[in-house]
Amino acid sequence: MSVRHALLGLLVDGPKYGFQLRQEFEATTGDVWPLNVGQVYTTLQRLERDGLIAPLDGADEREDQQRGFQITPAGEAELSQWLNTPPDLVAPPRDELVIKVLVALRLPDVDLQEVLQVHRRYVVELMQQWTRLKEDEGELDLALALVVDAELLRLDSVVRWLDAAAGRIKRAELDPPVFDPTSPRLRRRLAVRR
């Protein structure tokens, strides 16, 4: 996650000190991503080096915790570009869970449905924990609610994949497919994406 751009975002409404940025960062992310002070100051130093923020007048000589910073026009441009650039989601999937199931597929004595169920149970238990955070809606601020939704939807997609895999494997056991993962045609098509 980009701490760098999150800090730039926090400086848009006015100059701030390091400790203040840390507090606001944690509040902005629903207190789900704690940040240590060292990380804040290191990031501020790099942002200053890159001309994206500037120290307040007279702040040069002070200790880190007493230095205030403001965003520069270059910083504002960088922030705007970051907000509008989708994160890289197109990389070829190398999900560890998928790899585990693909490896299990090649092993003769492994009960694939059991393997899928172990992972399904774990993910649903994680979802139960995230859902508990939503139970008391009154205590849930908007930032935390958005984080919880993101986690639940991400985990939900994992369960959906496990369910789809279970169905596909079951059908394949009943009617073995002519699927060959080493087929040159498929390999060529996948190679295009690399």
Binding site: W33, Q117, Q129, G167
Partner: protein
């Protein structure tokens, strides 16, 4: 003691070559105040389990106990009384009667149980109030949104002194905010002491439950263990 207990229950449809075991030696316990989700793919036996738990169908073998009473030992009238007084059902397609208003739909099981019409409607109105749709009482089902219809169905399922709530894919085709609303209502009923079973194929719905039971090909294959405090998940994430 469990309010609902399924003890080694099997249900077989058909005979000989056409025999299908919908559920196979299933045991399940649900205490008052707890919400249990039964998760599984289509055809895993979820709905059959629910209809047997609710005395809408009889188990082929095994025993079902509701509030300590064996359904097998119960007369037809006894079961009908149990369904009117103790068990509430919520279905995916709401199952509201189109010719009755929302409040009349909710009051119906009370009236069938001998409660006077005026008193039944007053109780139904307050149930709708509790679910935030008190002002929709005079409307007919086709004048309500999907989310409102499901609220009426939940009000009907928990009205009176019902202590067992059985829900089959209760969020149906509702959007995610309305689905969450439905689960909140079921959870609120559990907090008031109702025992609830929700069957679903959706993990997001199941994750509201205290315990999730996984069904596959008619068998209970697994269940979740009670989750630790929600804070633990954030602390764990922060350590990484």
């Amino acid at each position: 003691m469990s309010f609902l207990e399924l003890r080694d229950v099997s249900k077989v449809y058909g005979t000989g070559a056409t025999e299908v075991k919908a559920i196979d030696h299933v045991s399940l316990n649900v205490e008052l105040g707890s919400l249990v989700a039964v998760m599984g793919p289509s055809g895993s036996g979820k709905s059959t389990l629910l209809t047997i738990a609710g005395s809408l169908e009889e188990a082929t073998t095994g025993e079902v106990f509701v509030n300590g009473q064996s359904l097998r030992q119960m007369s037809r009238n006894g079961k009908a009384r149990l369904r009117r007084r103790t068990i509430g059902y919520v279905f995916q397609d709401y199952n509201l009667l189109a010719g009755l208003t929302a409040v009349e739909n909710v009051a119906l099981p009370l009236e069938l149980d001998g409660v006077g019409a005026k008193s039944a409607r007053a109780t139904a109105s307050s149930a709708l109030d509790e679910l935030g749709i008190g002002d929709r009482g005079v409307r007919f089902p086709d004048e309500l949104s999907g989310g409102e219809r499901q609220r009426v169905a939940i009000a009907r399922a928990i009205v009176g002194e019902r202590r067992l709530l059985l829900a089959d894919e209760p969020s149906g085709a509702l959007d995610s905010a309305s689905s969450e609303g439905v689960m909140r209502m079921i959870l609120a009923a559990c907090k008031r002491g109702v025992a609830a079973v929700v069957v679903t194929h959706e993990a997001q719905l199941a994750s509201w439950a205290d315990r999730v039971v996984f069904l596959r090909d008619g068998h209970v294959v697994d269940h979740t263990v009670p989750p630790p405090s929600p804070e633990a998940i954030i602390e764990e994430g922060a350590r990484r």
